[in-house]
Symmetry: C2
Subunit: 460 residues, 2 copies
């Protein structure tokens, strides 16, 4: 099988691909809103029909929510599981849209042509880059170079309630050698990126108890222990102000330094620190001082306070010493950090610092998940990186991600699969916002990228 004719066909059929994407984007598959249930179903049907038109054994699979779409292409090469989602975010506030969200338009912008509409980037445009690459391969060569399982979800924008049960129930059917996920951005425009490490998460919540009841600060102010002071002391003690590090004993166990080679890739990946910080009102990074902003975000763990409260929050003043104060935290985990062991360390840190007469209770319902660190030593990773570099005429980079992408964790946990997260979105695509768009360059070179990746993966 030959790659070049496939790339040529992608180039010559770009208008056809855009027409198909436009048709797909017209379907109002807002999964979170029950009013759009039929439209969401229609998007699943559209995908099934499109896959079937390429000769793929595709079907809609019912769930208690919106259906999954699964398609199988047999083959001799490596077995790939490709994931995307056909549902989209709601469109409000509608008045901020320059065009109709479900009437996609091609627009000329300063940065080149874009297709504008809800789902253009997240995730219909992105998933179609892969589908179109497969279409071109099949049309040109009569078959695909790998064995492929297509797996599309319709609930990604509404919390994926059916995902884990479906994966567990159909684990045998969905198992493959490696997963490809097309739902991420490039680290900067034109820099092809494979996200190969995602931070994990530990959630916890505690309440500091002081007096038996709320007290009057005239009567007890002075001798009274105030849980708000106490919780401020504890939160502050989590951090070493000198270094910016977390001061919980043993917090960094399981954290590894970023290998020099990866660090060099990151340094040259075009990440614009200034824009990243300034856009939200920061003039400088505020994490661990000895690490760069990007390393702080991708490869260092955090202990973050997401909620802190107690006492009176209304207008004016109330002279209360409250009985309780509350704190919600999440930690972002990297490397081999063990969420359960870390939870114990944090709880001990808090308990060791309580004043006499203060007590602490913990929410027992919050869970943790370790970091997802893909094994980039697997040959598929380097093959894909080379394929992307060829297409974009620029070294592709293995990036980290500060957040978690749950699907990658579920693939690892339930199906035992490493995932390559390859996406062509740009940070200015306005996903989840009015005026979502997808660059035609992303769409076009995305299709060509996947053709190259399939070609590379199929070869020894």
């Amino acid at each position: 099988m030959s790659l070049d004719p496939v790339l040529s066909r992608i180039d010559s059929d770009l208008d056809g691909a855009l027409a198909r994407l436009t048709e797909f984007l017209r379907i109002q598959s807002i999964s979170t809103d029950p009013a759009y249930k039929e439209e969401t179903e229609k998007a699943a049907d559209w995908l099934v029909a499109d896959l079937q038109s390429m000769g793929i054994d595709a079907s809609k699979r019912p769930t208690p929510g919106h259906p999954m779409v699964v398609g199988h292409v047999p083959g001799d090469g490596p077995h790939i599981l490709f994931y995307g989602h056909y549902d989209v975010q709601p469109v409000d506030p509608l008045n901020l849209w320059k065009t109709e969200p479900f009437d996609p338009q091609i627009e000329e912008t300063e940065a080149g042509k874009v297709i504008r509409g809800r789902g253009a980037s997240d995730d219909k445009g992105q998933l179609m880059t892969f589908v179109e690459a497969c279409r071109a391969w099949t049309a040109e060569n009569g078959s695909l170079p790998c064995r492929i399982t297509f797996f599309f979800e319709g609930e990604e924008e509404s919390g994926s309630p059916s995902l884990v049960p479906f994966l567990k129930e159909h684990a045998e059917e969905l198992k493959a050698d490696i997963a490809l996920i097309c739902d991420t951005s490039m680290v900067s425009p034109g820099v092809p990126s494979i996200a190969s490490q995602l931070r994990g998460m530990l959630k916890d919540e505690f309440t500091v108890h002081g007096p038996r009841i709320d007290l009057h600060s005239g009567h007890y102010g002075g001798p009274g222990l105030n849980p708000l002071r106490e919780i401020a002391k504890i939160v502050d003690s989590f951090y070493d102000h000198e270094t910016g590090a977390v001061a919980v004993e043993g917090f960094y166990e399981g954290v590894h330094e970023v290998p020099d080679e990866l660090l060099r890739q990151w340094e040259g990946c075009g990440f614009d620190e200034k824009t990243y910080l300034n856009s939200v009102g920061y003039s400088q990074p505020h994490g661990e001082k000895k690490y760069s902003t990007l390393v702080q975000q991708w490869a260092r763990p955090t202990l973050e306070v997401n909620g802190l409260w107690g006492g009176y929050q209304g207008a004016g003043s109330k002279t209360v010493i409250p009985a309780e104060a509350h704190c919600k935290i999440t930690c972002r985990l990297v490397g081999d950090m063990d969420p359960d062991a870390l939870r114990d360390k944090i709880r001990k840190h808090v308990e060791d610092r309580l004043s006499p007469d203060a007590k602490v209770t913990w929410n027992q319902d919050l869970e943790g998940s370790p970091a997802s660190v893909m094994n980039i030593a697997r040959p598929e990773f380097e093959k894909a990186r080379q394929a992307l570099s060829d297409e974009w005429e620029r070294e592709a980079v293995f990036t980290g991600m500060g957040g978690s992408i749950p699907i990658a964790g579920f693939f690892k946990e339930i199906l035992g699969l490493d995932a390559m997260l390859i996406g062509f979105a740009n940070d200015d695509d306005a996903i989840h916002s009015p005026n979502e768009k997808y660059d035609l360059k992303s769409f076009h070179k995305g299709m060509r990228s996947w053709a190259r990746v399939l070609d590379a993966l199929s070869k020894d």
Copy 2:
């Protein structure tokens, strides 16, 4: 004029005094509830009639809310302004009352006889101790030994909205040599007390601003400045954990050590530290380590956090780095602490500790008032103390109070009057709660105390 016949008349007319108090307590003068407007007015009328029955020139004075009652008794002695309030707290939860709240009953208890009912202690029973003393004086001697202005309010339990305007408008009419206020407790049962220093108050509120908008802790956790951490750091920095003192520079300017003689009085005043602490769940005091619990409460300033909040407070977890965090504080002031100067010091303390990229804004609507420290060197104070000691056969003490009693501040500020706060309530009177009561011993010896105080004040 002779005291002993007055005391004898008080003793012999105790049943009459109790009958009058019972009649007064039957009036449902709940000032905060519009449904009881007529009843509240009726209580004012009852007081006017009772004063007039003693030959006092008394009248009801309209306000935008409930009326004031003002009565004048001319005379040659020192001019006294006596204050009390005829309104009472609501009675709910009604099901917790053992008797009808407005059907007062005399009850035998382990600690002696009590009269039980709403307002028995706060403040109808207390104010009647003074009125009955005056009745006995007048009956026995034909006139009172001092010039007296009676001043009764009907909105004390509903925020006193008409008080300051009325005082300002009638300042000339209400001016006197000294004020007597009967709305406080004895420091412990049987220990006559004159509250001679009340802490002042400074209120402030600030918001710490971090990023321009709420951020995702995956995307910005690490490099992102979190206002919740920042506000915890600032709150914690208010305190010196070693000493328990407030660590704001200059905070203690204007604070004076308690004079040795007063300290000796306090040490012997019967304050039960263990009960005071244990009743709310404390095993030890938590303020400045070098001061006793009582001194911490009465004579030392505080900086207390009454509200602290930011980020997510709902169920479960939200991975947010919030844009803002909020803190409400109140300081209790003593001695000559200047609220305005202190506000500046606290604000500087906060601003000096902000991280780069953090900003702070302040609520500009919150006010402060200095401590009320009565000039106990005035001869009236020692005269009253001696009179109380004679009646209770135990040294009366000048006490402090941890809270503020606004009326004392207004008398000082608007009328230029020092006030002697003398009350005979006990801490177990359940004021503001179901089953309010007043000890008959308090009622009886309270009347006798006032007779002695009037006698003492009238003499050079």
